[in-house]
C-alpha cells in the first residue's frame, strides 16, 4: 500500500507531468485562463486518463504483447483513446447535459493530447502491472489538475496586474510556469518514480 501511495505522490508532485516532463502544455496554457474551466479540465483529464490507461493496459497485456505486436502499440492506443473520448463525449452530451457543461466540453480537447497518451505508453514500456498503471494514471491526472488549478489561480491574479504588453498572454504564462517549476524544485529528491 505504501508503495502505491509513494507512486501516487511521485507522479502527482515530484514528477509532475507538466512541470517536470512538459506534457500537456497546450491544455495547460490554453485552459488555465480561467479557474473554473481549469477545475473542469482537471477532472476531465483525470477521468479520461484513468479510463484510457486501463483500457490500453488491457489491450496491451492481453492482445498486443502476447501476439508480439508491440509495434502496433502507438496506433492502437491513439485510435483507442480518440474513439473512446469521442464516444464518451457524445454519450454524456446526450444523456447528462449538466455533467457535460461541467467538464464534458473539455473532452474534445483531450481526445488527442500528449498527457493522455503518454501514461499508457510509459506503462506499456515499463511493463507495469495493473495496480501500478492505475495509480500512475490517477496520480498523473491529479498532478496535472493541480498544476492547472495553481496556474489558473496565478493567472487570474495577474489578470489584474500591470503585465507589460509584450508579455501578455502566452509570454507571462510561460514565465509563471517557469517559476512554478522552480518552486517545485523544492520537492526534488523527495520521492521518485
Amino acid at each position: 500500500m505504501e508503495e502505491y501511495l509513494k507512486l501516487f505522490v511521485a507522479s502527482a508532485i515530484t514528477n509532475n507531468m507538466v512541470l517536470t516532463q512538459f506534457l500537456g502544455l497546450c491544455i495547460f496554457f490554453g485552459v488555465s485562463k480561467n479557474l473554473n474551466a481549469s477545475i473542469g479540465m482537471g477532472m476531465a483529464v483525470t477521468s479520461v486518463m484513468t479510463i484510457s490507461t486501463l483500457l490500453a493496459w488491457a489491450v496491451y497485456n492481453y492482445v498486443l504483447h502476447p501476439l508480439g505486436l508491440e509495434v502496433l502499440m502507438l496506433i492502437t492506443f491513439v485510435v483507442l483513446i480518440a474513439g473512446l473520448v469521442q464516444l464518451l463525449e457524445m454519450v454524456i452530451k446526450k444523456h447528462a447535459p449538466a455533467l457535460y457543461n461541467m467538464w464534458g466540453i473539455y473532452l474534445v480537447l483531450i481526445a488527442t493530447n500528449c498527457v493522455v497518451i503518454a501514461v499508457p505508453i510509459t506503462n506499456a514500456e515499463s511493463h507495469n502491472g495493473f495496480m501500478t498503471s492505475f495509480v500512475l494514471a490517477i496520480g498523473s491526472g491529479v498532478g496535472f489538475a493541480l498544476a492547472l488549478i495553481l496556474m489558473a489561480s496565478l493567472r487570474e491574479k495577474l489578470q489584474y496586474a500591470d503585465v507589460p504588453k509584450s508579455l501578455e498572454g502566452l509570454g507571462i504564462s510561460f514565465i509563471l510556469a517557469g517559476m512554478l517549476a522552480l518552486s517545485f524544485f523544492g520537492f526534488s529528491g523527495m520521492i521518485t518514480l
Binding site: 500591470d162 514565465i175 524544485f185 523544492g186 523527495m190
Partner: protein
C-alpha cells in the same frame, strides 16, 4: 493683509477629490526602508562574520537590483519610484540568502533575474506573485548548485575546523547525522549558543538568530509585519520536527528559518491579505520546510517552502475572506 482680505485669497483652484480628505503618515517607502533598517544589523554582522567577500556580494546584489529596477522603470516610462527602497530590499534579502563566497557573476545575475523577471514581468511592485529575492536565490541555486552549497566558515571557526569551507549545520545533520553535528560544535549547549549568536557556516544573513529576531521585533512593534506569521511558521517547524523526532531548537534556529519567517514569509505582496490567510500560509510554509528538510533532497527548505506557498496564495485569498459585517450574528 487684513483678515477680511484673506478670505478673498485666490481660491478658484481648490483641490477636489473623493472622501476621505486626510491620510495617515504611512507610505510604501517608510515600510520598505524600515524593513531594510531592521535587516541592517544582521547584514553588518555578516560582514563582520565573513569579511570582505560578504561586503562585496552585498554591494553587488543591492546595486544590481537598484540599477535593474531603474533601467526597467525608465524603459517602460513608469513613474520613477526607485527611492521607495523595495528594489534595495530585494537586493539586500537576496544577498543575505547566499553564501558569502559566491563569485561575483552569480549574485549579479541572480539579482538582475529577481528584479527583471520575478518582479517586473508581472508588473512591478505589488503585482509579483513570488518573492523576488527568493526567486533570485532559487535561480542561483538551480544554476550553480555547487557554489551555492559551498559555505565559507565564519570568523570564529577559523583554525577550529579544517579548510575554509564547511557544511551548514543542517547539511551535516542531513548527511552525517545528529551526533556528528553536535560533535562538530563540541557539545549541545555550545551548539545552541553558536546558532543563537551566529557562529556557524551558512548564508550571509541567516546565521545570527539574535540579530534577526531583534529586527523582527522592531518590525512587529512598528506594525509592518504581523507577529502571527513568524511565530506560527517557526512554531510549526518546531512542533513538526519534535513530532518526527528531530531537535526542534536546532531546526528552529538553523537554516534560513528565522530570516525567512520574519522577513520573507511576511512580504505582504506575496502572501495572503487576511490575517487568517496568513496564518494558513505560515502553517503551510512551516510544514513544507520540515518536509523538505526531513524528506527532500535539500538540507534546507525555507526558500522553496515560501515559494510554494506563494503559488497557493491566490487560492487562499479566494477561499479565506474577512468576516463580513452582518455575517457574524
Amino acid at each position: 493683509m487684513s483678515i477680511e482680505a484673506k478670505t478673498k485669497i485666490e481660491i478658484d483652484n481648490l483641490m477636489v477629490s473623493a472622501s476621505p480628505h486626510i491620510r495617515c503618515d504611512e507610505s510604501i517607502s517608510k515600510i520598505m526602508w524600515s524593513v531594510n533598517a531592521a535587516l541592517a544589523p544582521a547584514a553588518l554582522f555578516s560582514i563582520f562574520n565573513f569579511g570582505m567577500p560578504a561586503f562585496v556580494n552585498l554591494v553587488i546584489c543591492i546595486v544590481a537590483a537598484v540599477v535593474t529596477e531603474y533601467l526597467i522603470l525608465k524603459w517602460q516610462n513608469k513613474p520613477m519610484v526607485i527611492g521607495d527602497g523595495s528594489a534595495f530590499l530585494t537586493g539586500l534579502l537576496l544577498a543575505m540568502n547566499i553564501p558569502a563566497t559566491l563569485p561575483w557573476y552569480m549574485p549579479l545575475t541572480g539579482s538582475i533575474f529577481a528584479i527583471a523577471v520575478a518582479k517586473h514581468t508581472m508588473g512591478g511592485l505589488g503585482f509579483n506573485i513570488f518573492n523576488p529575492a527568493l526567486i533570485g536565490r532559487a535561480f542561483i541555486l538551480a544554476s550553480w548548485p555547487i557554489a551555492m552549497t559551498t559555505w565559507p566558515i565564519s570568523r570564529d571557526m577559523v583554525g577550529k575546523v579544517d579548510g575554509l569551507t564547511s557544511a551548514t549545520p543542517l547539511g551535516i545533520l542531513k548527511l552525517q547525522g545528529y551526533e556528528k553535528l553536535v560533535a562538530s560544535f563540541g557539545d549541545q549547549a555550545t551548539m545552541y549558543k553558536s546558532l543563537f549568536l551566529g557562529e556557524r557556516a551558512g548564508s550571509m544573513g541567516e546565521t545570527s538568530a539574535i540579530l534577526l529576531l531583534l529586527g523582527g521585533i522592531y518590525l512587529i512593534y512598528k506594525g509592518y509585519i504581523k507577529w502571527q506569521v513568524p511565530i506560527v511558521m517557526i512554531g510549526t517547524v518546531g512542533a513538526l520536527t519534535a513530532a518526527f523526532g528531530g531537535d526542534p531548537l536546532l531546526h528552529m534556529m538553523s537554516g534560513g528559518l528565522i530570516l525567512g519567517a520574519f522577513y520573507m514569509a511576511t512580504d505582504m505582496v506575496t502572501i495572503p491579505i487576511t490575517t487568517k490567510g496568513q496564518i494558513i500560509f505560515a502553517i503551510g510554509a512551516g510544514a513544507l520546510t520540515v518536509l523538505i528538510r526531513l524528506q527532500g533532497g535539500y538540507p534546507e527548505g525555507v526558500c522553496y517552502a515560501i515559494l510554494l506557498m506563494n503559488c497557493v496564495t491566490p487560492l487562499i485569498d479566494r477561499l479565506v475572506r474577512p468576516v463580513k459585517y452582518g455575517a457574524r450574528r
